[in-house]
Amino acid sequence: MNLSLTINHEIQEIEIQPRETLLRALRRNGYFGVKHGCENGECGACAVLIDGVPMNSCVMLAAQAEEKNITTIEALGQVEEQGWKRTEGLDPLQNAFIETGAIQCGYCTPALILAAKALLEKNPQPNENKVREALSGVLCRCTGYVKPVEAVMQAIREPRVETGDLGIPVPLEFFQPPSSEISYDETPISSLQSPISNLHTPVSTLPQMLVAPTIPQTSIVGKPEKKVDAQKLAQGKPAFTDDIELRGMLYAKVLFSPVAHARIKRIDVAQARALPGVHAVLTHHDLPRVVYSTAGQSDPIPGPLDMFSLDDKVRFVGDRVAFVAAESEEIAERALELIAVEYEELPALIDMRDAMKADAIRIHDEAEYVNFGESDPSKNIAAEIEFELGNVAQGFAQADFVLEDEYIVPKVQQVSIEPHVVVTYWDEDDRLVIRTSTQVPFHARRILAPVLQLPPKRIRVIKPRIGGGFGGKQEVLIEDVAAHLTIATGRPVRYEYTRREEFENARSRHPMRVRMKTGVLRDGTMVANEMYALSDTGAYGCHAVTVTGNTGQKCMGLYNAPNIKFHAHIVYTNTPPAGAFRGYGVPQGFFPLEVHMEKIARHLGLDPLEFRLKNAVKAGDELPTSKAWSEGREPHPEVIETCGLAECVSEGARAIQWRSLQSPVSDSKRLETRDYPHLRRGVGVACVMQGTAIPYLDMGGASIKINDDGSFNLLVGATDLGTGSDTVLAQLAAEILGVPIDDILVYSSDTDFTPFDKGAYASSTTYISGGAVVKAAEQVAQQIKARAAQIFSDWAEKHGETDIPRTEFAQPETFPLIPDPRTLPPALRPNDIVLRDQRAWAPDGRSLSLAEIALSTLHHRDQFQIMAVASYVSPKSPPPFAAQFAQVLVDTETGQVTVEKLVMAVDSGVIVNPATASGQIEGGMTQALGYAVCEEMLYDARGQSVIRSLGDYKIFAANEMPELQTIFVQTFEPSHPFGLKAVAEIPMDGVAPAVANAVYDACGVWLNEIPLTPERVWRALKK
């Protein structure tokens, strides 16, 4: 049928299917700024304005847009300078999003901007609550909303009044705040229900920065530079995996197992293959049987090989049974229905506690299984880890007080708003191109080669922009599906998960049951610390060893007890596999550890902050666990060079007003009003640490070359998945090359063009890939300086004659007057030259522009390409440290916990970019807040997920956020040329224990299980 409508001011007539959604129709017609994030109108990435009103285009038929006026992000504004043409430029909202650092992965950015646009059209001067409400229909998993809200407030242009020290606000209407603040219209709704307190995002969303005296002066490093990719993302440019259309492209779908554990007795695909429009149906009969691991890790993979692209056995509800490629998604779905499968059901093992029982069903009995370390599939053990430093039994014997307790942490999901998506095709050289949303393009190529029976040289992996990953895309999860189908059909194939498939089939955080036993002396000295973790890897052992190993290695390393023991079993169950998720096992360990520490401090009447600092590692200490375990490889002892934990504790405590709030549990926790007798307020803390890359293993490469105009191409294998790593790497190069960041053109990543990088994980990119960029930039700088010195010397020799026609003798204040050329030394050495302000400067004040040097080297004489390639691997993994604080309000009648404020003071070494780094902290704290209070993947007794949508699995929206505060305590880490350490993962670690400790502070009950759902808290209160 035909649809006539106006799109972005143009009247159009487009051909549509009756069942086609508006989202699909718009994308099919090239409006790629409209994104797919779910199918239920719950994430908002698909927002468009319909007659000026923001709506979800995924839950609207295209036909419903008949005669409507549609606005997409493409209509808002374009970059002003377009060669000889000028446009009106970007919309103020687009500019504000770019300038405030509101864009991380950028996948939800068009929707956020459109939602804000619609609000400002109606109400040019909204207050912050109205902005938050308007943005609340668009879920962002990266930012924590601090900077997007600030962007909108900035676009309003009215200078905002700083609210100053808010202190502790008066009791908020916990369940019935006054409403006029929230409703759009002028008629007040009495007692609107919303958790919004009066949040006031400060005028600047940049974090508080504490600077160590050893940090050298820099001009670009340390500045909140705009993200190098922000401009394209603000315009909704087609930058993501799915934003291309190839001729003859087929759509893939996968038949997933409806049962948790079964053998496939018979599978009949004749009818499906016969369906018109179906080009391939593949089952385990059609594919080579190659055992592999989907974990995106360095060779050799530290874990068992236990998976096949397709197998004759299914091991969880959602395991793969067959692949289909067809001319449309609908035909492919229909084909799935025509596949007849006969299952021989086996007993399903759902509860991790049953996995090691003697009579438990064996999940992996395949002959091809390749063991790693202590894996024992006959006992459903994917991995076992054990280390002991000193002797804990002796330690406990010495202790005055021993506390033992058990803790439970749930399975949660990464929930990048861009789902897993891949497009594969054969190129003209018969090489398979895999365009995929991945954190690990190079690992993907290596891992897929044997599975596809192609040599790596015949595979090219392209990583375009990524719409968030958080570890979920450190997995070679769906690339093989499209690749097998391209091999089968010879045609391009696109495969994308639906949101439901994400929840039922994609990876997640390992759930664990953790037993802690800690012995202390009366004065609080820890003498023995022991952790046992039972970890559930689900049906496959991807990341099994390394995630749980990090639980022990990072968490048990924070407190320097003379006797430390860690033991873990990582078991198989018939549930969807767990994998990598920001924090990588460490949040699972810090919830038990830090609640346990709080209990001990409270029991002994010790100050919780002093007790922690007394036992925590310090600079100069050997990290106790460094010699015990390292990612399933050989451990190397490591001395901690920098540790700002004590400063983090004191700065964080000041920010949360610790001393005035934290007190023995008593009636003083009641709010000072008779209207809210059931509300209690409290504060809590947790100290945490993470690592920075994997020592002796993680490698990143970078190449830099100069262009005619003195700009540079920086090619990196590093994988910016929204974190801002492209920007940070460009800053490091720009600092060394003396140019503004605009002169660094970053490209990441493509296995054909960019040097190897292990990928985005383990908080490593700025440190490792940044190390490579620094080395490459230094070599390029040296080449530039050599040519500059040569030109200056020649010029002196010729007494004023020069081969540089346009040399300008600039005279900055810091330089003396131009000397008489006859007095100049005959030759300058390269190291005499300084690169600054896009120029090469001689000590006497003469200078050459980099463009002049580029033209000289590329065209004029002794021609060569100024360029360098370098790589970096570190013998250290310097830990960042942090103190995380939470302030909560507990409703003792219902068990509802409202987190009012989160503070994180973190020592991540030198901060390269305060805007992107605080964006990481804010986004990480927000994900961690979900882990603390509401996120949880649940399965019924048959192993069927009850979580199928973002309605079932709530992630925080803009109008539900607590106040977030970030403080960077900068140290100079000597193992890196710029003194930096990691930022990305550590904010995940301490929010859950800080919130649980705050709940105890508020109302005197301990919670050993997260998330702190209302019913869990209520039950604890009832006891």
Binding site: L61, A63, S183, Q193, E330, T894, A957
Partner: protein, 290 residues
């Protein structure tokens, strides 16, 4: 999503004609926010959808004869925007926490009622406000109390050839000296406080006569196969002095009247206890707003 035919009638008559001519596999389509999800999940597989967007007779909110007539296609956002809804606080409170602001721009009141989810956000306030529902077909128009409309989870008294044409609410005015002041309130308890599937929801409506509660209606969501009235709890309060004792007793009774289930989100026990908490809190809140 299976294939279907899409009809886009411009008049109510054409829409009703289409419904009358087709068999049971025809479905009306409002904003689409529930329907498209159901189609994709294959919970419904109609041969034909009748899009009602172009039917002007189903639009509009008017006040006449002491009633507010709310057209079926009225969006949730409009309930928040239109001052005619000012007297219906509970309804506006429910609208303000309905899904998210973008969905509210598409979703219609008739769509939420027609879906008949036991946890549908708009249903308890409509029950508490004693809404009437008007159903039309080619041959007849019938009006019934909304309380009789819901038969079970996703089951209603609407026949396949019928459309919901409007909702009617009795308008009372606090300004009018002859009628008693009235007030209402709503709360939804979710895993977080906004934008979540409710664990329980409570709506109450009160009419005040001095220190007495002259009349009261209490409606509960997500704690029975369909949204329900807690009539025995109402009896405790009706005609009585507003007192802490009565309030507690009524809340206790309400929690025994419902029949919540235990699932992975919350236990039946917890849901019952929360009904008691929120019935008490909502009555207090409504009383405070006189």
């Amino acid at each position: 999503m299976r294939e279907f035919d899409l009809l886009q009638p411009k008049t109510l008559n054409d829409a009703l004609e289409a419904l009358a001519q087709n068999n049971a596999t025809i479905r009306p389509l409002g904003g689409g926010t529930d329907m498209l999800v159901d189609l994709r999940a294959r919970r419904v597989q109609p041969d034909t959808l009748v899009a009602l967007q172009g039917v002007n007779e189903l639009r509009g909110v008017t006040r006449a004869n002491g009633h507010l007539h709310v057209g079926a296609s009225t969006t949730i956002a409009e309930i928040l925007k239109n001052p005619l809804f000012a007297p219906f606080n509970a309804l506006r409170q429910a609208a303000s926490v309905f899904a998210n602001p973008m969905i509210r721009n598409s979703a219609t009141i008739a769509g939420n009622i027609g879906s008949a989810s036991p946890a549908g956000d708009m249903l308890p306030p409509l029950l508490a406000l004693n809404a009437q529902i008007e159903l039309v077909s080619r041959n007849e128009t019938r009006v019934m109390p909304l309380s009789e409309f819901f038969l079970g989870p996703r089951k209603t008294a609407k026949r396949a050839d019928e459309l919901i044409s409007s909702i009617q609410l009795l308008v009372t005015s606090n300004q009018s000296p002859v009628s008693n002041p009235q007030s209402s309130a709503f709360y939804k308890l979710g895993l977080r406080q906004a934008d979540a599937i409710s664990l329980v929801s409570v709506a109450v409506w009160l009419e005040r006569d001095g220190e007495k509660i002259r009349d009261v209606r209490i409606a509960l969501g997500a704690v029975a196969p369909r949204p329900m009235r807690a009539t025995r709890a109402e009896e405790i309060l009706r005609g009585q002095i507003f007192s802490e004792t009565n309030l507690k007793e009524s809340a206790r009774i309400a929690s025994t009247e419902c029949s919540p289930i235990s699932d992975l989100r919350a236990s039946a026990d917890y849901r019952r206890r929360m009904i008691a908490v929120y019935v008490r809190r909502m009555i207090e809140q409504a009383w405070q707003h006189f």
